[in-house]
């Protein structure tokens, strides 16, 4: 798993590259929290175009980040999910808290 990020126009773009499962969850969680701690953005967009695999452990990681940012009033959005990730998001209702944007 690789996490790449950049801030542009008050938006934090996070690119998740690789496989998000139990093995990569801790690293992903810690890395994202480090990035999220920098207060130079008002919105977060997760770009999942490079995410090759995700299971329900990944959902747990995303929900955990949502809870952290909710306290700061910073919304999170999802873009470019694979068909597979989309299936899991719809099943778990993740889009209700992290809407998909095109």
């Amino acid at each position: 798993m690789q996490v790449k990020s950049r801030v542009a126009g008050g938006v934090l773009y996070v690119l998740l590259c690789g496989e998000l499962d139990e093995h990569s969850a801790t690293y992903t969680r810690i890395t994202l929290d480090e990035i999220f701690d920098k207060p130079n953005f008002k919105k977060i967009i997760f770009d999942l175009s490079e995410l090759s695999f995700m299971d329900s452990t990944g959902i747990g990681v995303l929900i955990g980040r949502y809870k952290r940012m909710k306290d700061k009033d910073i919304p999170i959005f999802i873009t470019n999910p694979s068909t597979h990730a989309e299936k899991i998001f719809k099943m778990t209702g993740l889009y209700d808290i992290m809407p998909k944007i095109v």
């Binding site: 139990e22 695999f53 299971d55 329900s56 452990t57 929900i63 068909t83 299936k87 099943m91």
Partner: protein, 148 residues
């Protein structure tokens, strides 16, 4: 006669083996000529079952075995993921969507729900000597001829 084949691997209940388990089953199932969606469904279900073994089966630092078996009978894939861990106290509750015995660990509690959604059938057997998750999925006929 129906096409028939099986494979079985045993590995330690470590998260580093999750990717191996997924790829192992996916590679084996390729002989049935499944679609990409079907393979991804199977990989995800295997990942969920193995994650349960890694996270829940062996609560002490001494990690035991996970036995992963995949059987092919005609177009039917049967996968069993077995551990020799502490078992699941309440299987019905464990299978409920969003239920997790470890809420503080940011777990979604959707493991069994994902398995049930991505496979045709999921059975769970568990006692204090271990847990066995048996999942089946029928591969739909594809245009290309199947191996065997």
């Amino acid at each position: 006669m129906k096409y028939s084949n099986f494979m079985e691997v045993t590995f330690k209940a470590l998260s580093v083996n999750e990717g191996f388990a997924r790829v192992c089953v996916a590679s084996f199932c390729v002989q049935l000529n499944p679609s990409v969606d079907e393979i991804t469904d199977i990989k995800t279900a295997v990942s969920e079952a193995v994650t349960n073994c890694v996270v829940h089966a062996y609560p002490t630092s001494v990690k035991g075995d996970v036995i992963l078996r995949c059987e092919l009978e005609g177009d039917l894939v049967t996968i069993t993921v077995t551990d020799k861990g502490v078992g699941i106290k309440d299987i019905e509750k464990a299978r409920e969507p969003f239920y997790t015995s470890k809420p503080s660990a940011e777990r979604s509690g959707m493991g069994f729900t994902v398995m049930e959604s991505f496979m045709d059938d999921v059975q769970v057997l568990s006692n204090s000597f271990g847990t066995c998750v048996k999942m089946t999925k029928r591969i739909q006929a594809n245009e290309n001829e199947k191996v065997g």
